[in-house]
Symmetry: C2
DNA sequence: CAAAAATAGGACTCATTCAGTCCTGATTCA
DNA sequence: TGAATCAGGACTGAATGAGTCCTATTTTTG
């Protein structure tokens, strides 16, 4: 497996969508319809991303979410980290030392960190902008799907 | 999080140990003592690795496990894939098409594959040999820990 | 000023998956 | 023949994730 959570999955989908429509904010219900993802979870993810500083929110009737930064500045690593927590392939990697029982006589710690670093680097090399340009649909579709689903 | 399972974790630890002691096979109980990991799980992981072709086994009284290939030929990606299954960051990546509900109108599929490919590449660039050389302990220790734990 | 629409935050439940254990059989060596 | 080891799978308990829902708070609009 080795897969990220659906939260991160959804988050990247949502961020990509927003990166393609930078002109105005989108509300959670709108985004749920557009991406065909379940509204409550979408809402949860958006709130999370907002708390982490990747999105800006605006309350009230005409409120919604929009990117808080230039898509070129946002890396895939940052999005995953925001939703799934720090990228730590094994327990011993996590910030707190002492979390691993074998820490003192373990000669692998440096290796875990190397593996971890390698993967992190790979994810940092891809920006939201990179994802957005290639996922941009024919713009006609912008809203044509709206209302297709009930939720 | 974004972490691999303990199976893969243990597997890499065990493989690294074996890579440092290429002269003879080790039994599951021996390896459990040396690595200070729980025996039943160690046994399970070893069997798994053997079935996947990364280890050779030899039954009987003087049996045990040993690497079936040159450590330079074994990548971290291969070990993780053997234990955790194919590296697939999101559901849509998995082999079977049709697994994702949004497949037809999804413009992100290429992106997932790019992310996935990037991470896979990072893990393929590290070989077991790379891990082993840096984790090699002072060889005096070879067995000094033996018997320190009961299981 | 009041109502509607949206976000903020968190509690909660259910399903899935993982970690770990255990048992039964097959193989090898002394 | 018997002891030690691997082979394979079934099983249980715990942890985690996905998803839902409820109650504020904020903002716009009539
Ligand atoms: S510190 Fe945890 S296995 Fe090395
Ligand atoms: S195919 Fe699954 S999200 Fe695109």
């Amino acid at each position: 497996m080795l897969r990220m959570t659906k939260q991160a999955d959804y988050g990247i989908v949502l961020m990509s969508y927003l990166a393609n429509q930078p002109e105005r904010p989108f509300s959670a219900p709108d985004l749920a319809v557009e991406t065909q993802l379940p509204l409550p979870t979408v809402s949860k993810v958006l709130k999370h991303l907002c708390r982490e500083g990747l999105l800006s929110s605006h309350r009230g009737v005409k409120g919604g979410y929009s990117l808080s930064q230039d898509p070129r500045q946002i890396t895939v690593a940052a999005m995953i980290a925001a939703l799934d927590g720090p990228i730590a392939f094994t327990e011993c990697i996590e910030d707190t030392p002492g979390s691993c029982s074998q820490e003192d006589n373990c000669h692998l710690r440096a290796n875990w960190q190397r593996i971890n670093q390698s993967v992190t680097q790979a994810l940092e090399d891809i920006s939201l902008f990179d994802l957005a340009v290639s996922s941009r649909p024919p713009l006609v579709q912008l809203g044509s799907v709206r209302g297709a689903l009930a939720n």
